[in-house]
Amino acid sequence: MSVARANITMMKKLLIVSVAMFGFGFALVPLYEKICEVAGVNNLLKADALTENIKVDTSRWLTVELDANTRGLPWQFKPMQASVRIHPGELVEVMYEVRNNSDREVAGQAIPSYSPQLLAQHLKKLECFCFTRQVLKPNEVRQMPVQFMIEPSLPDDVRVMTISYTFFELSSDSVDTGGKAKPI
């Protein structure tokens, strides 16, 4: 029967479309990251390169408050100083300290968060413990630097800002599907 056969052909085509769209859902994951990369948003976990020679604006003072949190892992995590006063364009280094309070080896990943949000566009980080995952042996203490610079293009009305890090536990069998936090 020709209609029945035409129907089956149609169903096959539509099934292929459905399966392809299921795959497309997953293809959106790398696509999303590519778009973020091209658009320059959301690259919180990558080192920035200082390409041009930026002049330090000594006429302005900025207060950067440092904040540290842990989420669900037995670590103690704190900045070595509560805040720093810096000039825009000045390269600064601050230290954080993390201590593994448990007697097992724990892997963690720090996720940064900035306040106000627009700081993300003007903050250049050359080095950060958040670029890689940190593995701490039982009771190990580690001091970790963050090297950053805030561009003078930061609007004048922003004088106080917060850089915050939260450590999350990485289970040993977790699969990295995001492609941003590359293990060492």
Binding site: I8, V17, S18, M21, Y32, G178, K180
Partner: protein, 537 residues
Amino acid sequence: MAAVHDDHAHGHGHGHEHGHDDHAHGPPKGMMRWLTTTNHKDIGTMYLWFSFSMFLVGGMMAFGIRAELFQPGMQLMTPEFFNSLTTNHGLIMVFGAIMPAFVGFANWQVPMMIGAPDMAFARMNNWSFWLLPPAALLLVAAFFVPGGAGAGGWTFYPPLSVQMGMGMDMMIFAVHILGASSIMGSINIITTILNMRAPGMTLMKMPLFVWTWLITAYLLVLVMPVLAGTVTMLLTDRHFGTNFFNAAGGGDPIMFQHIFWFFGHPEVYIMILPAFGIVSEILPTFSRKPLFGYSSMVYATASIAILSCIVWAHHMFTVGMPVTAQLFFMYATMLIAVPTGVKVFNWTATMWQGSMSFETPMLFAIGFIFLFTIGGFSGVVCAVIPVDIQVQETYYVIAHFHYVLVSGSLFALFGGVYYWLPKWTGHMYDESLGRLHFWLSMVFFNVTFFVQHFLGLAGMPRRVPDYALQFADFNMISSIGAFGFGLSQLVFLAAVVKCIRGGKKAEAKPWDGATTLEWDLPSPAPYHSWVTPPVVK
């Protein structure tokens, strides 16, 4: 897969021959009739009753929500349970009530309106329906497992949806099943419409309801698999150590929102396009004039469907996006108002100088145009980024989407039920019950939702069981309206049951202005219709 196809072909052919033999006897009796049926009318009926019962379940949840919000302060339930109610009210109304109801209409009407004997894949049709009850059971049973039902909103946003208990897994599985059912249903509808039209019925002669369903079915095939993929990622994040949405593992919770709304925005048009179709059938009938601008209606429907795929991020203007992207999504969203406006103007022009009469289906159709347009306008308001940032996650958004989903989709469904009940049951419904149902719904709907615009503009957040004192009066009005709206639906049930049981005998064509093919069949429509296809001139 090939084996399955052959089986379908065989099953279909067999069913067909069987149909001829069985013609005089009608359907088998008892429970087995409904379990094993491959008849599009039986399956359509089951879809409609299923969606009505889900409508009552979701309605009971809304009842709980409005009871808690009747007064400020915590009165009746824990905040977690309140959040479970809002989450599952949304999920059940979208996937359990509105969508299956439209598929029920498609099952009943599409074969009769295009002159086909049945759906293309009759057995798959049975399977599409019988997947629904287990999914509904999963959704409802989730309330009784440790941790309760999912409470992170019907949109499954991580990180909440990654952290919750097994109720969330049941929600995810339910969505998988519902998605599979929708995809099978859509494949069936597309194939039926494209391959099984009566001789002479060209695409541009199809009734508009068939057109809107054809386009809706394509949208479903395109985006339902994406939703299935998204919730699959959620499931593997929860149990198999992947980190698609887990920031600590290099994933991104905002990416979930992008993928979800890539499905979610076409989804809202999936719920409204068939409603456009139903209204476009009812209006010409009761205006006794052909539909104004038929071809522009078809093109407008197609444009809406295409545009709906590129506007998803207007649901998430506040998550942080480059300004260029925000502007793109804002303009694209506003662009949808153009084809939608074409439709509203065409409907109005259809009524213009028509010989109108106001039976219940027409009342619902006019109520639809009036209230859906209000919902459409508040949609344009929400599309404006600065305004949206203000009203994001407030009751303004709740008011907006209930205007398009309740007084849009649901009113069109009610109108369609009254319009086709004579054909389905062979009896005329009770006109005064129908009118009572319409006016009660119309009044109580507006009492419930119009005031929510004010609440939203004043800043009342959604999904919170308690609120500040200044919101008290409007919330009480809204709750009273909601109780009234819910109870009014019992009038609908009474009208439908009364019509099934008896009433004035319906003629083959009870509406003198009707023109589509189903009215050439006797009322009630015979169990097997158009065994010999009609010829369309």
